[in-house]
Symmetry: C2
């Protein structure tokens, strides 16, 4: 766990979990997959996928203000964790801490966001609970099913595998910048849909998978630490950015590659496909009308390499990830730190 | 739902849930049981029990201050919901919002409380998530299993059934009074253990069951509204109060019957047994070394009747329950309202 522990978030999770024994029914290891995978005693053929995730920081920082979006994201962050293990959703339980001054109209928008996200995912609210309190926060526990023995984990990729993303990247951080960095908030469409259908295809072909909920470089960094191998993105990453995100980053004077570095994700699946299965995978993807985007290759050395400013760099993703969890401070400071890293790269100080 | 809706908490839940369609796999109705019961497609013989519950108000009001107790209760409130449907726990997922100034020692105590409660319930932490934020709040999603077709719900009791509690009542509210009403906090042992073993016996015999997490009269009131019948407690309720709770209430000048009225529960199971099954039930309970306490009878009229001050009253549980959810204000005001109800009873104004 030494390499994992160099990331503050992993260190926190390890310290919180260290005294807990594992359930004999639990299939996945700690950090091993986006959802917990649990054998159901007496129910052969099916395993349960379960995940819990709360929207609190995004409300506190002012990133999410529209109650509809808060409801939508409460469902999607959990459904995305189910998608990343290839599970089919059963439903979600929702927990809400509602401030006394939260209007009836806001409450209705919150519930509508939850409903719309469930409908988009073909799933249901199974139950919930409410507390009176402040500030607003909303959490969910997503439940799904997986055929036994078909776990899609984070930990089986190998040198030579092809790196893919389920769709365009960059919208999570461009949305955050449009809300928090722009002097007056820019209009920006941010409404991620969990990649459940895609996950159920990926499950049959991929060697590892994880969603990009914490940002793309954080996802790749975590996969690197778990697998002991690295990723080479070449120039390919540029074509994987959504046109909307590039436009907004340029408008705000933010170098586009930082759309991969920021910690607010786009909830795409990042996964690796062994070359021998690549054709069959792409055929099956085409069958459901989906065009996965190539993002690079798995390399034997534990590095994240990409072309920037005409040079190939090994990005210090440890530094980037630890900016996030240490920055309970203002977003401007976080962005300034990212821009400093970009400045150092442009100065060529960390060329490998 | 008219009768249910006269309770503000039910009204809130109904308004939050009204736009959500039910999952075709969901067995229980809204309000119908303490946990959600879900058929597992493709897994014959087993159904899933799931519940979500967050500890926020108890922290905000200063009722829970010890991080160990907060951890313990995070698990127990969820396990108690599983116990009330007779489920066997699979485990719990935990979500924590942790303030920046929460010390490492406090965090360790919180996690120790979670672990100790899981150990006491023979269950496991399956996963979790953390957010940085303030104030501290902790939530859990409890998961369990039930043999198919053996749902223990809140809604099948009938006139003539015997009312039972799994153990002594009163500790929840006496603890709250010892912490919040006493000028200097009194020592009080409050460490409820979810009645999982007892629930798995109750499941085979009871006509309805619900835990007393919101207080005993609130539980009975809810069962009354759901079943359209009432409960007569006679004088029996006095013997069902824990000696510790009676001592503390008298020391604080609080009439002991208010230990049933307050909204902080003791997490016992409140259930009804048809007379034809009573002997077999008591035999089976004795087999596991458990002595359930008789609390009264199911009566045909929708009333909660009990002897107080040598008279039999029908208690206005609607008024009592609505004090709670309307009192985001100080505890003193809530207690004053309860004492006013007691005063009116003693004046004989509501004698039936």
């Amino acid at each position: 766990m030494l390499m994992l522990d160099r990331i503050r978030e992993n260190e926190l999770i390890n310290s919180l979990a260290k005294i807990f024994p594992r359930s004999p029914y639990q299939v996945n290891a700690l950090h091993g997959s986006d959802s917990e995978i649990i054998r159901i005693p007496g129910a052969s053929g099916q395993t349960l996928a379960a995940t819990i995730d709360t929207i609190a920081e995004e409300i506190r920082t002012g990133l999410y203000t529209d109650p509809w979006l808060i409801g939508w994201m409460t469902v999607m962050v959990n459904m995305s964790d189910l998608a990343a293990v290839g599970a089919s959703p059963i439903g979600i339980l929702v927990s809400e801490i509602i401030p006394p001054d939260f209007s009836a109209e806001s409450r209705e928008r919150l519930q509508k966001g939850i409903l719309d996200a469930c409908t988009a995912c073909g799933t249901f609210v199974l139950g919930g609970d409410t507390n009176a309190g402040s500030p607003l926060s909303t959490g969910g526990c997503g439940l799904g099913l997986l055929p036994e023995g078909s776990l899609l984990s984070r930990t089986e990729c190998a040198k030579g595998d092809r790196l893919y993303t389920s769709g365009y990247l960059g919208d999570g951080n461009a949305f955050a910048a449009s809300r928090l960095i722009a002097k007056t908030p820019l209009p920006y469409t941010y409404q991620p849909v969990a990649r459940l259908r895609e996950g159920s295809v990926v499950r049959h072909f991929a060697s590892c998978c994880m969603d990009s909920s914490d940002g793309v470089l954080a996802t790749l960094d975590q996969l690197m630490r778990l697998n002991g191998c690295g990723f080479s993105l070449g120039n390919v990453w540029e074509k994987a950015l959504s046109p909307q995100s590039v436009r907004t980053s340029l408008e705000l004077g933010i170098p586009p590659w930082l759309l991969l570095a920021g910690e607010h994700g786009e909830f795409e699946l990042i996964f690796t496909i062994p070359p021998s299965r690549e054709k069959a995978f792409l055929d099956e993807a085409a069958n459901i009308g989906w065009a996965p985007l190539r993002l690079g290759d798995v390399i034997p050395t534990p590095e994240i390499r990409m072309f920037l400013y005409d040079y190939e760099f090994a990005i210090d993703t440890e530094e980037i990830r630890n900016l996030g969890s240490s920055s309970l401070g203002p977003i401007e400071k976080y962005l300034k730190s990212l821009l400093e890293i970009d400045f150092r790269l442009r100065q060529g100080r960390t060329i490998v």
